[in-house]
């Protein structure tokens, strides 16, 4: 395990397309559910324990070597909103390009071949971690952290929120994020023996509905 490789993968500037997505924050801002740092924190906490907990487990399972096609199907089944499935595949395809250029690996090539228009992003993320010599904990941490850092960055742009406040929100969530990542790895290890049904299936109805509404807007800053 290389700690430096983890930093490369977790860097917000890793060129994998995330900058164009708000993780549901744009819809929540418009609906008046995020207005300041306190409501951003509540939004991120909700996301951490639902969508992010699920993607972290998928990523950890992929990093452990669970069959990525089965994981991709599991991700589809856990993502009711078609708009979110489309976004997840787009981001998966973008991450795949960056990953293959950064850490060339036959398993990445095989997944790209199987899903030329993109597999679900957390599945690609887990395989990327594998290709980078990282473990399931690393993959789970990256996915869970992305799940909250994406909305926090987006809200800085959307509301002009003080960037120091947004970063402090992330720092306050860190202990919870540690637990979510650990649970994700435990679930991924169970999936090794019991299959993908052992992975959490926690979707957040408001995020799903918000994503569908957002996809229909003619004017928006973020792709999702």
């Amino acid at each position: 395990m290389s700690r430096a490789a983890l930093l490369v993968l977790a860097d917000g500037r890793f060129p994998a397309g995330g900058h164009a997505h708000s993780g549901g924050a744009e819809a929540a801002v418009k609906a008046g559910r995020i207005t300041d740092a306190a409501s951003l924190e509540e939004f991120c906490r909700g996301r951490l324990h639902t969508g992010a907990a699920m993607t972290a487990a998928l990523a950890a399972a992929a990093a452990l070597g669970v069959d990525p096609t089965g994981l991709d199907r599991a991700a589809d089944a856990r993502t009711p909103s078609p708009a979110l499935r489309v976004a997840a595949r787009k981001l998966g395809r973008q991450l795949m390009r960056a990953a293959r250029a950064t850490w060339p690996h036959p398993e990445l090539d095989a997944l790209a071949q199987r899903f030329p228009k993109g597999a679900h992003q957390p599945v690609v993320l887990g395989l990327t971690a594998r290709a980078a010599g990282l473990g399931p904990e690393d993959a789970a941490y990256c996915s869970a952290y992305e799940g909250v850092s994406g909305p926090a960055t987006a809200v800085v742009r959307l509301l002009g929120l003080d960037p120091f406040d947004a970063t402090a929100v992330l720092a306050r969530l860190a202990p919870e994020l540690d637990r979510v990542a650990q649970d994700a790895v435990d679930a991924a290890r169970r999936a090794m023996t019991d299959g993908v049904d052992a992975l959490p299936a926690r979707s957040a109805p408001l995020l799903e509905i918000g994503a569908e509404v957002h996809a229909g807007w003619p004017v928006r800053l973020f792709a999702s």
Binding site: G17, H19, R97, V219, F222
Partner: protein
Amino acid sequence: MHLDHSHHGPSAVSADAHRPDGTRRALRIGLGGPVGSGKTATVAALCRALREELSLAVVTNDIYTREDAEFLLREAVLPPERISAVETGACPHTAIRDDISANLEAVEDLEDEVGPLDLILVESGGDNLTATFSKGLVDAQIFVIDVAGGDDIPRKGGPGVSTADLLVVNKTDLAPYVGSDLARMAADAKAQRGELPVVLQSLRSEEGVRDVADWVRARLAAWTA
């Protein structure tokens, strides 16, 4: 749902000059520059000038709408399947320089779906004077400014003005109304750019996009040579 895509090969990892099947890919030209300088109007004029002789497609990068793509569709400069819009998350320069994956996907999908193509024009969302395209995305770039944005912009320089492969000073027809000194703009541009070419154009004039279209033809001849 997209559960099965097994019939396509994987896309190329980088901006290779060749497509996965070994054929040469289309030349990609980026158009950048400040908001409202005339990028979309130049793209539209180029499409009208070149569509009879070349197989063309366009990628637009709108900041928060799909207006550029919709304008091109409304003007019917190309069939709709040849126009694709990328969403940039409030950061147009990121999508053309720091994280180009969404744009690379758009150009590759166009080549897959409507190719073979000779030329793909990639229009950036309107941005500031430092916004330039990555060499991983485009083979050449045009920076479009206009006379109404102030005739000191060529003097201010910046990466777009000084290093773009072609600098276009657009809307010369407006110069008398906004008090812009075209001779001074041309001289300042020359001082910033040395041998790199500059075109002063008005899309409202008879010549329109002619000089830029000639420049594109020359780049394409060099690309396919």
